[in-house]
């Protein structure tokens, strides 16, 4: 008989088709539907939280950016900076005219703060109660440069600018309790009465104007003796040449000391505000990540139990020819499918929450594609990590022991 014991040619190794790997993973999930759904919910909540946080913040930002776009990013503001000794410098009196000579500048308007003057509803109110309202002397074209609108009345012109007339910024009007021009309201400004001829709508690109009482340059010089040098020049440029104008503004405003001139773009502040919201977004994202983590731990838990319950199945599969690797792969894929199911549901839910919230806020709907894709990828990754240990345990079961399991 010994002659018959020649070793036969090696058998072709077992193999599991990729489609079948996924198929076997689904079998496990299908046979325990309730458990599958309950386990996936943890991941769903985590992913939905993260996607909706990203989506809502993105929708809000998209809305703000659209608003900024509408306001225009071609408004620049020139202000005096500091000189080399750290003292506050001044803009030359000629600055507004020089700036207006730059070809791409559409309009430029100088304002000058009237330092000591306060605005009160009447002379009976204490001088200390300024309400935080500043008095600004302005050129008559400020409204055009700001592209602002009036809530009531008219803006200053060369005629009214020579008389004690005042136009109130939106916040200033509210603080003074003047809603409209009925009854010809007047305010007590720097020691004499000024007639209110107009109230401005809010100007998002000029929050300082909102809090100001605007008077004409001429009357300001006559009554308060202000210096003619502007404390601020607002410049509206051709939208295509904003950067070019920006580059030459300082040198144009103050050719002798360009370094003592500060040029800013007010819309940048709004954009910075949009970015600032990201701190909150990051915090909420962190909370979503915690939910995802808890969901992952839940999956790991359920998979460990599943491996214990399915020892007989593991034994049968080993008897049918599954290698350790096949068993490990099966449980890993099952775990990933479980998490992926939760993740896909979470992405859909998160997008729905974003759409609902954006609608309620009248924002445009925006969820970055990266968030949608990232949600699914993150859940698969969590599933893979959660499945590692249970899968390893399943694959380590000795086939002889596993087939004996009940």
């Amino acid at each position: 008989m010994s002659a018959t014991t020649t070793t036969p040619p090696a058998l072709a190794p077992t193999r599991l088709r990729p489609r079948d790997i996924v198929g076997q993973g689904l079998v496990g999930l299908r046979s325990k539907r309730t458990r599958t759904l309950l386990t996936a919910v943890g991941i769903t909540i985590g992913i939905a939280a993260m996607v909706s946080v990203v989506g809502i913040s993105s929708s809000s930002r998209a809305d703000l950016l659209a608003e900024i776009d509408a306001l225009g990013t071609n408004l620049l503001q020139v202000q005096p900076g500091n000189d080399m000794f750290g003292e506050e410098s001044e803009l030359p009196v000629s600055a507004p005219d020089m700036i207006r000579r730059i070809p791409a500048v559409e309009s430029a308007s100088a304002t000058r703060s009237v330092g000591d003057a306060t605005v009160r509803r009447s002379d009976l109110i204490s001088e200390d109660e300024t309400g935080g309202i500043a008095v600004l002397a302005t050129e008559a074209n400020l409204l055009d440069t700001l592209d602002g609108t009036l809530a009531a009345g008219t803006f200053l012109n060369d005629a009214t600018g020579a008389y004690p007339s005042v136009v109130l910024g939106s916040v200033a009007a509210e603080r003074l309790g003047i809603d409209d021009l009925s009854g010809d309201p007047a305010v007590f400004l720097g020691g004499s009465w000024f007639r209110v001829i107009g109230i401005l709508d809010p100007a998002p690109l000029a929050p300082d104007i909102d809090r100001s009482a605007l008077i004409g340059y001429q009357v300001a010089q006559e009554r308060f003796g202000i210096d003619e040098a502007p404390s601020s020049v607002r410049v509206r440029t051709d939208p295509d040449h904003t950067e070019a104008v920006w580059d030459v503004l300082a040198a144009t405003a103050n050719p002798e000391e360009p370094s003592e001139v500060g040029v800013t773009r007010p819309s940048d502040a709004l954009e910075a505000k949009a970015q600032a919201d990201e701190a909150l977004t990051a915090l909420l994202l962190g909370l979503g990540a915690v939910a995802l983590l808890v969901g992952g731990v839940g999956i790991a838990n359920v998979m460990v139990i599943s491996v214990l319950e399915r020892r007989a199945e593991i034994g049968v599969r080993r008897a049918l020819g599954a290698t350790r690797r096949h068993i490990r792969l099966q449980f890993l894929v099952e775990s990933m499918l479980l998490a992926g199911l939760g993740g896909a549901t979470g992405v859909a839910l998160g997008a729905a929450i974003t759409a609902g919230y954006a609608r309620s806020q009248d924002w445009m709907f925006s969820v970055p594609q990266a968030a949608l894709l990232g949600g699914v990828v993150a859940s698969l990754a969590v599933g893979a990590i959660a499945g590692l240990y249970p899968a390893a345990r399943a694959s380590r079961l000795a086939p002889a022991e596993a087939v004996r399991a009940d």
């Binding site: 008989m1 002659a3 018959t4 014991t5 020649t6 070793t7 036969p8 090696a10 058998l11 072709a12 190794p13 077992t14 193999r15 599991l16 088709r17 489609r19 079948d20 198929g23 076997q24 079998v27 496990g28 299908r30 046979s31 007989a312 199945e313 034994g315 049968v316 599969r317 080993r318 008897a319 049918l320 020819g321 599954a322 290698t323 350790r324 690797r325 096949h326 000795a398 086939p399 002889a400 087939v403 004996r404 009940d406």
Partner: protein, 253 residues
Amino acid sequence: MTVATAPTAISPLRGRDDDARRPAPVLQLRNAVKEYPGSPPVRALDGVSLDVVTGEMVAIVGPSGSGKSTLLHMIGALDRPSQGTVRVAGSDLSRLNDPQLSALRARRIGFVFQRFHLLSGLTAADNVATGLLYRGVPGRERRDRALRALERVGLGPRASHRPAQMSGGEQQRVAIARAIVGGPAIVLADEPTGNLDTTTGREILDVFGALHEAGTTIVLITHDPAVAAHAPRVVALRDGRVESDGAFREVGA
């Protein structure tokens, strides 16, 4: 011998030139010893030698603790002997690593268990098809072959039923179909009637009988002499040794 079974892709008659009178053994144990560690170590198999040739139907009978289960694990390539040699379809188990043992089980051995061990989420046909899953057979072919195997055990009309919708006898037929769907060199049945009533048990034994007639090699492991009596050859085990080997006689009666 008429071989009307699904193709048994192996060459069971290898070695006929060396020993013209007998076909090569599909199963060959030489002084197989299995010891489980412990203090003192448990010697479950104590030098078992056994040959099973292609086409044979053998019952291995013995009381619990006789080493039946351990022998089953050796024959089924689920475990390796501590000493001696076990050859299944010509392959020496001690020379095979885990993937190679898996390949041997996938391609040469069909298992039937006492508790059927069907996957509850799958239909009868899909359960049978898992018998070909780890050979990388494409899904459609698996299904066709599964349906043919179900026909052979008389369960064609039940192909789309799930295990929960079938009786114990039907489930065991599905399990038998799963064992034979790949045309294995040897079908290994572990107490196949243990969970069934006498009548159903006899029906299952008749299925094995028919498969044997058609040329399938069958090893039946049981504690029940009455079940063993259905096999032309009975190997009695006691205390890890072969007590008797031959045509059926009332063991221990």
